[in-house]
């Protein structure tokens, strides 16, 4: 695949909840195989942007181009089927279902053969989940639940994986494991849009970064440019 080819291209996007606008004139792009970091303080609109991308909110203006097709306002199931998959903030696994059922739901829209192949591949990657396949997902530790949430998203055969604050509430050791996993997925060719509070670690992985502030893009560029800009560092990152 051509690395320069944009998977996702957002232009002039506005969105929010009902009449309350939150995002204004958002422009963002992700190319095949790259990690893009999306940063911003609490309430800047990161989660709103992701929910809009995934079809959970309908944008009020602008376009979301996915593989050259405008998907603004499309249903979340068609967006997932097209390969744009998110791991929602706070994991949101299904605690009463078994680990295996959680995983299989990630491939809900695929045929049986594809489901089984995906399950096998995911269990090979996360042997721990294989060991606990029949356990209720709610009995897993926080770190395992996050791995399950990511594994479940991988079951949907993503071309772009959106991770919304995946390190939230994890132990420092688990955060390291998580970033190792993200870089591994990246090396294997998956494009990732990473929303994170762990700024330093995210920027170390990302090839480009965006900073959201009060619902608008305040910065876009390379991590080096972002770190070089004192103002941005002070204002948004606290590093």
């Amino acid at each position: 695949m051509n690395r320069a080819e944009p998977l996702l291209e957002i232009n002039g996007l506005a969105s929010g909840y009902g009449p309350i606008g939150i995002l204004r004139a958002i422009t963002l792009s992700v190319r095949a195989g790259e990690i893009v970091a999306l940063l911003g303080s609490n309430g800047a609109g990161k989660s709103t942007l992701i929910r809009t991308l995934c079809g959970l909110l309908t944008p009020s203006a602008g376009s979301i181009c996915w593989l050259g097709r405008d998907i603004a306002g499309a249903s979340s199931q068609s967006i997932v089927a097209a390969g744009l998959v998110q791991v929602p903030e706070g994991r949101r696994i299904f605690p009463n279902l078994s680990v295996q059922d959680n995983l299989l739901l990630g491939s809900y829209r695929r045929g049986r053969a594809a489901r089984q192949a995906n399950l096998a591949a995911v269990i090979e990657r996360f042997p721990r989940l294989g060991e606990r396949a029949r356990q209720a997902a709610g009995t897993l530790s926080g770190g395992e639940q996050q791995m399950l949430a990511i594994a479940r998203a991988l079951m949907a055969e993503p071309r772009l994986l959106i991770l919304d604050e995946p390190s939230l509430g994890l132990s420092p050791k688990m955060v390291d494991t998580l970033f190792e996993l993200i870089s591994q997925l990246h090396r294997q060719g998956l494009a990732i849009l990473l929303v994170e509070q762990h700024v330093a670690q995210s920027l170390a992985l990302a090839s480009r970064a965006y900073v959201l502030e009060n619902g608008a893009m305040a910065f876009s560029g390379t991590p080096a440019q972002l770190l070089a800009s004192d103002q941005l560092r002070r204002a948004y990152l606290g590093v």
Binding site: R92, N96, Q100, L105, Y108, A113, I123, A133, Q135, T177
Partner: protein, 361 residues
């Protein structure tokens, strides 16, 4: 944790190196679950088929018949309330649609009762889909959904009370024609086996839903709808489907009521009593469990008899007892009798897959 370098699933699609071991995991589990519930259901079925040979008094047969009838109400309600987590307070809608459709087909249309049964179930399913589509399309849940269903049932009652095709306030009486061809039976036993057959099919359907992908997706929607949608699961379509199944089962209970009592009127079939019986059987027995409604319905039937014995002079006193039971269940056994009384069932259903060979549901 992620030490093993494996292809991401996006690529596995092309490479597809299926590890045979893990492929079997899903199959084996499903077979076990299905085999287990087939065993449980057929065991129970045999018990109930033989029951009239032991309890052959008219009173006992009537008791069992009505308990099974309430079971059917509960199974129907559980389909939407238990598996999909959408609590309806107006399930009488589908019950009444089924009963009236069957009655109109027979009285107004002069057609056979079997045709009335089929028509009742189809219309009940359609009504379930329609109520579900209207409610879920606009994101109604929780108490809003409960109130809307309550209101629709009341509207149905008022309509049935005022238009002529339903016989208005007078109600409808179907002609007395005993015989299997007319779904009427001279003795009580015929009704008993008919409702037993319907309950068996309904429980088998429940069991299938509980163990199927459809059921897992419904549970996901129930537990966290937004997360399910983020995985590409069409939550609205699933809930509408559950509502249609629920409506069809409820309607067939309505048809049974019509054939059993030969008479319906708007308050009997669209009134709140039916809705309350349906949700009580499911909640008392155990929300979202397959056998819960059966256990709940038997508990209600026993309570009903106790009430009639002790306070026979006070009409509808069983409703007071029902209320007390509901309060006690919600307070002390929120998972219902099925789990409260038989922790074994819970252990089997729970995390451990080690005890799959023991019977249970």
């Amino acid at each position: 944790m992620p030490e093993h370098a494996a292809l991401p699933p996006a690529m596995a699609r092309h490479a597809a190196p299926v590890a045979p071991g893990s492929q079997c995991v899903e199959l084996r589990r499903l077979n076990h679950a299905v085999a287990r519930s087939i065993r449980t259901l057929s065991g129970l079925g045999v018990l109930f088929v033989l029951a009239p040979f032991v309890f052959h008094g008219e009173f006992q047969i009537t008791f069992l018949t009505l308990a099974l009838y309430v079971t059917l109400l509960g199974v129907a309600w559980n389909m939407l309330g238990g598996f999909a987590g959408q609590y309806s307070f107006g399930h009488a809608i589908f019950f009444g649609v089924g009963a009236y459709a069957a009655a109109i087909v027979q009285v107004q249309g002069g057609l056979n009762a079997w045709f009335g049964w089929v028509a009742g179930m189809c219309l009940g399913g359609l009504a379930g889909a329609a109520v579900g589509a209207v409610s879920f399309r606009y994101g109604l849940r929780g108490s809003y959904f409960a109130l809307v269903t309550l209101a629709i049932a009341e509207v149905c009652r008022i309509i049935a009370n005022s238009i002529s095709i339903t016989g208005a306030g007078v109600g409808m009486m179907i002609p007395l024609q005993p015989g299997l061809a007319h779904l009427q039976f001279a003795g009580k036993l015929g009704y008993y086996y008919w409702i037993l057959a319907m309950v068996t099919v309904a429980l088998a359907l429940s069991s299938w839903v509980r163990h199927s992908r459809f059921g897992a997706a419904l549970a996901a929607v129930r537990d966290n709808e937004e997360s399910a949608r983020a995985l590409g699961i069409d939550a609205t379509a699933l809930k509408v489907m559950a509502s249609a199944l629920s409506g069809a089962l409820m309607a067939s209970a309505g048809v049974f009521y019509l054939q059993y009592f030969h008479y319906i009127d708007p308050t009997l079939v669209f009134g709140p009593a039916v809705s309350v019986q349906a949700l009580l059987a499911a909640i008392v027995g155990g929300l979202g469990s397959v056998l819960g409604p059966l256990i709940g319905a038997i508990a209600l039937a026993v309570l009903n008899e106790i009430g009639a014995h002790l306070f026979g002079g006070i009409p509808e006193f069983s409703m007071v007892l029902y209320g007390i039971l509901l309060i006690l269940i919600v307070r002390f056994m929120p998972h219902g009798l099925a789990r409260g009384v038989a922790p074994l069932v819970r252990r089997l259903r729970g995390a451990s897959g080690r005890r799959e060979d023991t019977a249970g549901a």
